[in-house]
């Protein structure tokens, strides 16, 4: 074993990342599940790995837990190389997608399981289990068996079991997948509360972008085994690096457009799909005449009845359909070019009054800072 230089003991300096994933690749036979991922996660961070099924996010999580070994690269947790360290010796606990509660043990035995393996004194175990069950509000169910609990209760027991050993790193695999919407939202906030209370580093895997947006301080989007973009929820939503990220997080209208003017402060692109010109307030690194992609979020488009001044950032059309969602309405607008786009507007007024109706002729308009040009 390698000798550490003084001062860089466990804990490390503030600059040192808590989890360091060094260019790891995982192959299963001929398929590459995880492809050269390089990622640092800071202490006490709540990091979300977001991706569709088969994107490699669960494989990455399983490598952190020690259930799979990377084919290449290495993982460091708190400065320690995890290569060859079996799951049962890692300072990591995981909350499983299926919860994986031991069906033959009571709730309190499930939670105590990890502590019993660690040689903690009996009285201490009893106290910590009781405290943990109180935190997740399952104290009254300590003697129940898992099959006597509801989905939400099982989920809380699984969380308690994963947290009771006070791991440095907690991995959560689709933690809220099995819960209904209301319970999911409540639990999301509970998770965040527990996370800030205990200061544990969380890595959450999910395919649900809302869940990721709510929970994460930072998130990474995975596609086909690669980490496509890492950033805060706002970065990923407002500045997606490609069409995949733009589509994966939130709803979006995507257009193809040709670059006709490129200045440091602004750029203009002609779009056949809207039949007009996009004026964007940021420079684009491209050549004139190049075809590029534009992403325009539905809520950044305004609908107006009268033709606005100016020819740029506007597209005429007819409202095709309206979906009333309570807080907002989603309008499908058929542009004169035939292209269908989505527009969402908040329902500010309780009365129908001035509201749009299907068949109304409208102008879709947006500002220069609304659309984002994507290189790919």
């Amino acid at each position: 074993m390698e000798h550490r230089s003084a001062g860089a003991g466990p804990g490390g300096s503030a600059a040192e990342p808590f989890v360091r994933i060094e260019v790891i690749t995982k192959r299963f036979g001929a398929t590459v599940a995880v492809n050269r991922i390089d990622l640092d996660i800071q202490r006490s961070e709540l990091f979300c790995l977001l991706g569709g099924s088969g994107s490699g996010k669960s494989t990455l999580l399983r490598m952190l837990a020690g259930f799979e070994q990377p084919s290449e690269g290495r993982i460091l947790i708190d400065g320690q190389d995890m290569t060859g360290v079996p799951a049962y010796e890692r300072p990591v606990n995981m909350m499983f997608q299926s919860y994986a509660l031991f069906p033959h043990m009571s709730v309190s035995d499930n939670v105590a399981y990890g502590l019993r393996r660690g040689g903690v004194a009996r009285a201490e175990i009893r106290k910590r289990v009781a405290d943990m069950l109180d935190i997740v509000k399952m104290g009254d169910y300590a003697q129940r068996k898992p099959h006597q609990l509801s989905g939400g209760q099982r989920q809380r027991v699984a969380l308690a079991r994963a947290l009771v050993k006070q791991p440095k790193l907690l991995l959560l695999d689709e933690p809220l997948g099995a819960l209904d919407k209301k319970l999911r939202e409540e639990t999301q906030f509970e998770l965040m509360k527990i996370q800030s209370q205990l200061g544990t580093t969380f890595i959450v895997v999910t395919h649900d972008q809302d869940e990721a947006m709510t929970l994460a301080s930072r998130m990474g989007v995975m596609q086909d085994g690669r980490l496509v973009q890492v950033g805060g929820p706002r970065d990923l939503y407002e500045f997606p690096v490609n069409r995949f990220v733009a589509r994966f997080i939130g709803a979006v209208n995507l257009f193809e457009a040709v670059l006709i003017e490129d200045e440091p402060g602004h750029a203009r692109l002609r779009c056949a799909e809207t039949g007009g010109v996009f004026h964007v307030s940021h420079g684009v690194s491209g050549t004139l005449g190049q075809t590029m992609h534009l992403a325009l979020r539905p809520e950044k488009i305004n609908l107006i009845r009268d033709k606005p001044d100016g020819e740029e950032n506007v597209a005429p059309g007819v409202i095709d359909e309206i979906a009333y969602l309570g807080n907002l309405s989603v309008y499908q607008v058929r542009l004169d070019t035939g292209r269908l786009i989505h527009v969402t507007l908040p329902n500010l007024d309780r009365h129908e009054g001035e509201a749009f109706e299907a068949g109304n002729r409208v102008f879709c308009s947006w500002g220069p800072a609304s659309a984002v040009v994507l290189p790919a």
Binding site: F67, Y88, N93, S98, L101, F102, P103, Y113, R117
Partner: protein, 312 residues
């Protein structure tokens, strides 16, 4: 139109329900009928014979019910066979020895069968069938043949002794055939599949995530085995042990062919009473007591299972 339909339809649901209930009852009656025909009735016959006396007649036992004269019907129940069972040490030691041999064989079947079942479960799903077939394959030949094959292996100039002597490990052939060891070998070999299959069924249902969760919480593989795998395999262990133990107690062929002349097992005693002594009532009494000895533990296990299920 719809109202009329409803009117017309109104008597029919009751009739339909009735016929449905009839159908359901006849389906439920089927296994009961089977049980009555092939278990209860033969059992009653055997019970009847066990309460008679041996007789030089055809059939070789006395009738229980006889007309003494025109008006008097006598029922004569003889319990002497049961009394003899309790008093004669031979029977008691035959029972005990059978239980001992069956119990030890069951334990060995479990010890050998569990790793086999674990191995099969650890194979990828498409390969499991192959390994299960390997376990089942011996079943496709007659059990008698397989036990005879063991004679060929175990006898003084058999395969095993020849091999060991040629390899220079022993100079004198080992006495293997007609020993208790041969009986254990035969029983464990013959009944192993009955142990492996229920164990496989139980272990196959085990969610691999549970073992991962156990490892994740700090349990080494050996600890996970005893705290997770083993407790969750208990139904399979109970089923497998019963499937091996119950027929092994009454086993006749294996001790007769592989065992020593003095290997006392209740199956052989039964055979001797029936065919050598032509004492049908005694043989029947032996069979009845054996049944009680075997059914009692099964009932206990069932009662315990039901109790734990109610408690859960």
């Amino acid at each position: 139109m719809s109202a009329q339909q409803r009117l017309n339809a109104s008597p029919s649901p009751a009739r339909r329900r009735k016929s449905w209930r009839l159908g359901r009852n006849s389906v439920i009656a089927l296994p009961y009928g089977w049980l009555l025909l092939f278990f209860i009735l033969p059992f009653a016959f055997v019970l009847k014979i066990s309460l008679a006396e041996a007789d030089m007649a055809i059939p070789p036992y006395t009738a229980l019910v006889e007309w003494l004269d025109e008006t008097t019907l006598t029922i004569q129940l003889t319990f002497s066979k049961y009394q003899l069972l309790l008093e004669d040490g031979l029977y008691l030691s035959a029972y005990l020895n059978s239980l001992k041999i069956a119990a030890i064989s069951t334990i060995f079947c479990l010890l050998i069968g569990f790793p086999i079942a674990l191995f099969i479960v650890s194979r990828p799903a498409h390969a499991r069938f192959f390994w299960l077939a390997m376990v089942m394959l011996p079943f496709w030949t007659s059990m008698l043949l397989r036990v005879y094959a063991w004679i060929g292996i175990l006898q003084s100039n058999g395969l095993l002794n020849t091999f060991l002597m040629n390899a220079g490990i022993i100079n004198q052939p080992l006495v293997l055939l007609h020993t208790d060891l041969a009986v254990y070998l035969g029983i464990v070999y013959s009944y192993l599949p009955f142990m492996v299959l229920p164990l496989y069924a139980a272990l196959e249902k085990l969610d691999p995530a549970l073992l991962e969760a156990s490892a994740d919480l700090g349990a080494r593989p050996a600890v996970s085995f005893f705290t997770v795998t083993l407790p969750l395999a208990v139904p399979g262990i109970i089923a497998g042990c019963l499937l091996v133990f119950v027929p092994a107690v009454g086993e006749f062929v294996i001790p007769a062919l592989l065992g020593a002349p003095d290997t006392l097992m209740i199956g052989r005693v039964l055979w001797d009473e029936f065919f050598a002594n032509r004492d049908w009532p005694m043989a029947s009494a032996v069979a009845i007591v054996m049944l009680i000895v075997l059914v009692a533990p099964v009932m206990l296990v069932r009662a315990r299972e039901t109790a734990t299920r109610d408690e859960a």
